[in-house]
């Protein structure tokens, strides 16, 4: 039996990766939200000065977030042995162009909005397997690039249903190291695709909730833990509706849900008119920085972060296919 595996789906990192530094860049709306003070850089506009396209700006956001993380660590980009990044756009163009700039060995990852946790899990595996000592992980999403790809032109006057979520404009970068101080990633739980037939592209929370529940259940089973063994179990972007569905699923099987929350619920104020909360890679991508700061201040000692992805393609959605959901989790501990 593989010695670094716990139970069915969980990786146990014996050589523990440490998140030493990070950088975040967000759009104006996220800056105005309740977590605004925790982000490194807040843009005045969804577009950088002088940029012609939102895609260009999203690429800058990802790059700048990684540069901030490197600056905080006192490293140059060349000190990253491997770079893992992903985003929501077709062919993950934002990540590819960012990697072109950094010129380091690069693996593009895609797991829709679960990309952050997928990247952290893979990066941790590289470190635990002694393939690297420094790995960079970046993710980003941008409201306008995502909307135009997945839904409607942004200037079109459509009424969003109450179940819809708002794609976060934000980029987060994290540097994993094999030594030093910071937050440790002790375990990662790799999730299964769960598809329970939800095909409404404006109801992603409900599409993803079963995957999140399955991953939480697997993690607790694999490690022999209870919900209360975590100070916080937090999903990436289920939103208000998805979170209530997840809690319902958990309660039905007898789990307590007091310490279960969601990044998409935290990132915006209720009066910001997002309907069901935030979504996108950038949602967990930037909220994680807030969680890490809370851990540094010892408010939380052990967190289970679950990246939740709705693997939505406009093509398959128009062809009548449902939306597969995926969820991966990482266990974060203060040391």
């Amino acid at each position: 039996m593989a010695k670094n595996k716990a139970g069915e789906q969980t990786l146990a990192f014996l050589r523990v990766p440490i998140i030493s530094t990070w950088g975040t860049v967000v759009g104006p709306m996220e800056g105005e939200g309740p977590l605004g003070d925790y982000f490194d850089k807040i843009l005045d506009n969804n577009l950088y000065e002088g940029d012609k396209s939102w895609e260009e700006s999203e690429q800058k956001m990802m790059q700048h977030s990684m540069e901030l993380a490197l600056e905080h660590a006192g490293m140059s980009s060349k000190d990253m042995e491997f770079y893992l990044a992903g985003d929501l756009l077709n062919q993950i163009i934002v990540a590819n162009f960012t990697a072109r700039f950094f010129d380091v060995p690069f693996l593009g990852v895609y797991g829709a909005c679960s990309t952050l946790v997928e990247g952290l899990a893979l990066g941790s595996t590289l470190i635990c397997g002694e393939y690297a000592d420094k790995v960079g992980v970046s993710v980003s999403s941008h409201h306008d690039t995502a909307e135009r790809q997945l839904r409607f032109p942004t200037e079109q006057g459509v009424q969003r249903p109450m179940t819809a979520q708002w794609t976060v404009t934000g980029a987060g970068s994290y540097i994993l190291g094999s030594s030093g101080s910071g937050i440790r990633i002790t375990h990662a739980t790799i999730g299964k695709i769960k598809d329970l037939g939800i095909s409404d592209t404006n109801n992603m929370g409900t599409a993803m909730a079963p995957a999140a529940f399955d991953t939480i259940k697997a993690n607790l089973q694999d490690l022999g833990r209870k919900v209360s063994d975590y100070d916080l179990i937090i999903t990436g972007d289920l939103g208000i509706l998805g979170l209530s569905v997840l809690k319902e699923l958990m309660r039905a099987e007898g789990y307590v849900t007091d310490n279960v929350s969601d990044c998409g619920v935290l990132i915006y104020r209720p009066d910001q008119d997002t309907h069901s909360g935030g979504s996108g890679c950038g949602c967990s991508g930037v909220v994680l920085s807030y969680l890490l700061k809370q851990m540094v201040e010892r408010r939380y000692l052990r967190i289970f972060l679950i990246g939740t992805g709705a693997l939505l393609s406009p093509i398959s959605a128009f062809q009548g296919e449902s939306i597969p959901g995926i969820a991966h989790g990482v266990v974060l501990e203060y040391c």
Partner: protein
């Protein structure tokens, strides 16, 4: 041959299980799904080697196993929708209808005012209508460009989509969005991304109505 008989029997017993539409516990479900998947791959391997009539029979079996898999997923899916559906916030239909009526009516009233103005200044009824449409299309595009129309749409809903200004909005919004990909592959190719279906089916329906009118006359 022996093996195929066993597989077909298992398949038939699953068929009975499905007909009863029973909810299974996690373990039983996993077992059945594993069995389906294994049978499926076995049949694929047989089918790859078979020829003629035999191949057709195996293909039928494969499709039938495929359907079983989907049917089992469907049970889960319906069960989940029953649980998750009631949690979704209720759509604010009454409010939406009232707002749509108000804003749609407002836009049309403005249109009527413009028409009256044109008529008062000497245009014929028919020409006044055309001129009004032109003014409203311009206004719809203009306010889309200013980034106001989508804000209006948030409240007005169908009230701002159905009038001609909504049509203008859908074209102007697509144009704004596509201009970064250039004038040929961007604006040119995607101008009617949203409005295209309206034009296509508008034309089709007008042809049909024209035909009906032609034969009834």
């Amino acid at each position: 041959m022996e093996k195929e008989e066993i597989l077909r029997q298992k398949h038939a017993s699953r068929e009975k299980l499905l007909a009863k539409w029973v909810l299974m516990n996690e373990n039983a479900k996993n077992l059945v799904q594993k069995e389906i998947q294994m049978d499926h791959q076995t049949v694929i391997a047989w089918e790859a080697k078979a020829e003629g009539e035999k191949k057709k029979l195996l293909m039928k079996l494969r499709i039938s196993i495929d359907k079983q898999q989907k049917a089992f997923q469907k049970i889960d899916s319906l069960e989940y929708k029953k649980k998750a559906g009631p949690l979704a916030p209720k759509p604010t239909t009454v409010r939406n209808v009232i707002l749509a009526f108000f804003f749609g009516g407002l836009i049309c009233t403005i249109g009527q005012l413009i028409t009256n103005l044109f008529i008062a200044n000497g245009l014929l009824d028919k020409d006044a209508g055309t001129a009004t449409a032109a003014v409203l299309i311009f206004a719809g595009s203009f306010f889309t460009g200013l980034g106001v129309y989508d804000e209006l749409g948030k409240y007005a809903g169908a009230g701002s989509i159905v009038p001609i200004t909504g049509f203008a909005n859908s074209i102007a919004a697509s144009a704004l969005e596509a201009k970064r990909e250039g004038f040929i592959y961007g604006v040119g190719a995607r101008l009617f991304m949203v409005a295209g279906p309206v034009i296509v089916y508008g034309t089709v329906v007008s042809i049909l109505i024209g035909l009906i009118y032609f034969f009834m006359r």
